[in-house]
Amino acid sequence: MSSLPHYPTQVANRRSGRPHTSMFLRMLVRAAVLRRGRAASALLAMVVAAAVATTMLTLYADVQAKLRKEFRSYGANVVVMGKDGTALPADALPTVQSTVGAQSIAVPFAYIVARTADGQSVVVAGTDLALVRKLNSWWSVTAWPAENGAALVGTRAGTVVSPGGKPFELSFQGQAIRLATGGILQTGAAEDSRIYLNLPEFEAWTGVQPSTIEIAVNGSTEEVNAAIQRLARQLPTAEVRPVRQIVEAEARVLGKTRAALLAAAALIILTAALCVLATLMGWVFDRRRDFAIMKALGASERLLNGFFATEAAALGVVGALLGFVIGIGLAAWIGRVNFHDSVVPRISVLPIVLAGGVAVALLSAALPIGLLRRVEPAIILRGE
């Protein structure tokens, strides 16, 4: 305010370089500042709509990855087996691990049929128990065996080989081994009839190499299929096949969930857009007097359209940006609450929200302006 006495020269100097843009900007800023209430409510509608749209789009893009992680708890989706029951080559496990990557779990299994002390047959499997625990989280195990000489005994096998949980003896091709029950395993499937040992101990006893590798490949159906093809090329002597039960059911449930989410997203975004449209149209319509005065003062049609379009676009951009930030926060919150995991902000959603916001804002400005253009300014100013 101290510069007020020098107003004419200073202002003239300042403005001589950019007369038109300055006035245009001033009109835009003053319009927003003077009628804060209405401008704020229009902006609020825009922000909320953009936030909801961002949340839905981010969730839609991310839900597949999130649910896939849940589906991996179903265990292996790819199995590598020696052809016709033969053992796999010695380097099969490192090859598989390097082919499928660190995100996936690969667990080797070797099987034999051993005899108990009273001549019963029982299947004994050698594997990496620490990896199995990660792969098959549904296994109900009383205690995971820690030391050598302790085995994980299936509940049905347990009643045969060691009723009462006493140490027991098994023999395979004349080689005997004495084992303690390190833990009881229950799955409701074939595993209940087996005895599981750690692989080094199993190999020292039987000399049998793994014949099966079960792999939980992380990724979409295409990624799983690509991994199967890579594995088949790397291990020509082995048979690589998907566990169709797991792969197909997963694709089906995921597909339905995504479709339901898409329908919901479409409905929500449509409602939000309609809300913005209604609010903004009211806002623009409300300013028919500004429009009429500008027209009466000799503003050209082009300038008027430009003015209202710029205003709407600015509102759209600011609203979309604010909404985007809020929406990312909302999506992250939903991710934490529902999936106990963070949802990655997706920048690719921003252009969509931005374009959508500006388009809706322009549309809601264009409709009332189109109506007003046909009316004489005098009639509007008279308040009719």
Binding site: A45, V52, T55, M56, L59, V63, L67, E70, F71, S73, Y74, G85, Y111, V113, S121, V122, V123, W138, W139, S140, R156, V160, Q186, T187, G188, A189, A190, S193, S211, P242, Q245, I246, E248, A249, R252, V253, K256, T257, A259, A260, L261, A263, A264, A265, L267, I268, T271, A272, L274, C275, A278, M281, G282, F285, D286, I334, V337, N338, F339, G383
Partner: protein, 421 residues
């Protein structure tokens, strides 16, 4: 006079009323559809999760150990105990019968397969494909086509009463047989109905109607296991408790909840000398997946409710704001704040009830459409939803109008009439 004002307002301002009404209708329709879908999605996804296969298995009580590696049975076939095929329809007589979507009996036997070129020992699996069972007046289709939807057949599924068989993919390619060829099983000639692909052990086996396997084994009516596919409720603390240690009241609650444990218990009761157990790989994981998807849809529904509430309030606020002049006139003529507010609220309630009813039915149609296109089945809508939806519509319309009405009423009539808002 009051009623006349309301009536005339609706009659003369059709455009504005229609706009506000449409906004309410749309908002309520979206809310109804989302609530309907969200309340039903648990059931729908539960059904989709059944494509993981059976979650329960019933075995004979005195079952011996399976000696089986990679689907090849290494045990003498006649060894061990069996269930009775005649007891199968009892599965549909259990308390949670309507939650059982399918079951399939299995009888694996080892037999000799002969073709014109060679002869070898194979595992033959006897089962139902899709057999119609009658229990009282009810028809029920049991078999692997419902319990194991990932089984694919190239050719034709055999009829359960025929003697046609399916040959596993791997076995078929090593035997070089095609659908329609004849193979010998235990000295009898059988036609190959189709080539079976499962991605599992069955790819190396022969799958035949149950009667064929029973005949080879020489034990009519024998079944080794029954796989049962049931819709279950995710496990909680009550589910894991031992029924023997419960008091009668808790026992009833446990028994009447569709937990996988209580369904197993009921299957055991229904089938004599049996032991039923959950297949943990399927049963344990579906609970997590189901609760995640349900939680997601719940949160999304909240977002939808929020968005539609906002849309309705925005439309109402705009509609009232446009009528400042009217308010000014009424006030200038001596209308009290209370009576003017009452006028607007009455209009709002009218609009809410009309728009809410229309929106509810539109929402039902929308929910049906979503159910049909995504899940190929009806979405059930609880009638109790109608009053709830209507109440929500009225409350939201009220809340949305309140701020705008307050501002309109407090506005100085002189300014309003001069049009200087």
């Amino acid at each position: 006079m009051f009623l006349r004002l309301v009536y005339e307002s609706f009659r003369r301002q059709k455009r504005r009323k229609v706009l506000a009404g449409v906004a309410i209708t749309l908002g309520v329709a979206v809310a109804t559809a989302m609530i309907a879908v969200a309340t039903d999605i648990g059931d729908k996804i539960n059904r989709e999760l059944r494509s993981y296969g059976a979650n329960l298995v019933v075995t004979p009580q005195e079952d011996t150990l399976d000696v089986e590696i990679g689907g090849i049975n290494l045990k003498p076939p006649s060894d061990g105990a069996f269930l009775n095929e005649a007891d199968l329809p009892r599965i549909r007589g259990t308390f949670w019968a309507h939650n059982i979507t399918g079951f399939a009996p299995m009888l694996p036997v080892t037999t000799t397969l002969t073709t014109s070129a060679s002869s070898r020992d194979v595992t033959l699996l006897g089962t139902y494909f899709s057999k119609e069972l009658k229990l009282g007046k009810e028809d029920f289709v049991a078999g692997v086509r419902t319990t194991n939807p990932w089984w694919k057949v190239q050719g034709r599924w055999p009829d359960d009463t025929s003697s046609d068989v399916l040959v596993g993919e791997r076995l078929a390619s090593s035997l070089q047989v095609r659908p329609g060829d004849q193979i010998g099983l235990a000295g009898q000639s059988h036609r190959i109905g189709g080539i079976l692909s499962t991605g599992g052990a069955e790819d190396g086996q022969v799958v035949a109607p149950l009667a064929v396997a029973q005949q080879i084994l020489g034990k009519p009516g024998a079944v080794r296991r029954i796989y049962v596919s049931a819709l279950t409720k995710p496990e909680d603390a009550l589910a894991r408790r031992d029924p023997k240690t419960m008091n009668p009241e808790i026992y009833d609650r446990w028994y009447c909840s569709p937990y996988v444990q209580s369904i197993a218990y009921q299957l055991q009761e229904a089938i004599p000398h049996s032991h039923a157990e959950q297949i943990r790989q399927v049963a344990q994981n579906e609970g997590t997946v189901l609760s995640r998807i349900k939680g997601l849809m719940l949160l999304v529904t909240l977002a939808a409710l929020f968005a539609s509430a906002l849309a309705v309030s925005a439309a109402m606020a705009t509609a009232i704001f446009e009528r400042r002049g009217e308010v000014g006139l009424m006030k200038a003529l001596g209308g009290g704040n209370a009576s003017i507010a009452a006028l607007f609220f009455t209009e709002a309630v009218f609009l809410a009830v009309l728009g809410g009813t229309a929106g509810y039915f539109a929402g039902i149609a929308l929910a049906h459409q979503i159910g049909q296109t995504i899940f190929n089945s009806q979405i059930t809508i609880q009638p109790v939803l109608f009053p709830i939806i209507l109440a929500i519509a009225v409350v939201v319309t009220f809340a949305g109008s309140a701020a705008a009405i307050r501002r309109a009423v407090l506005f100085d009539p002189v300014f309003a009439l001069r049009g200087e808002a």
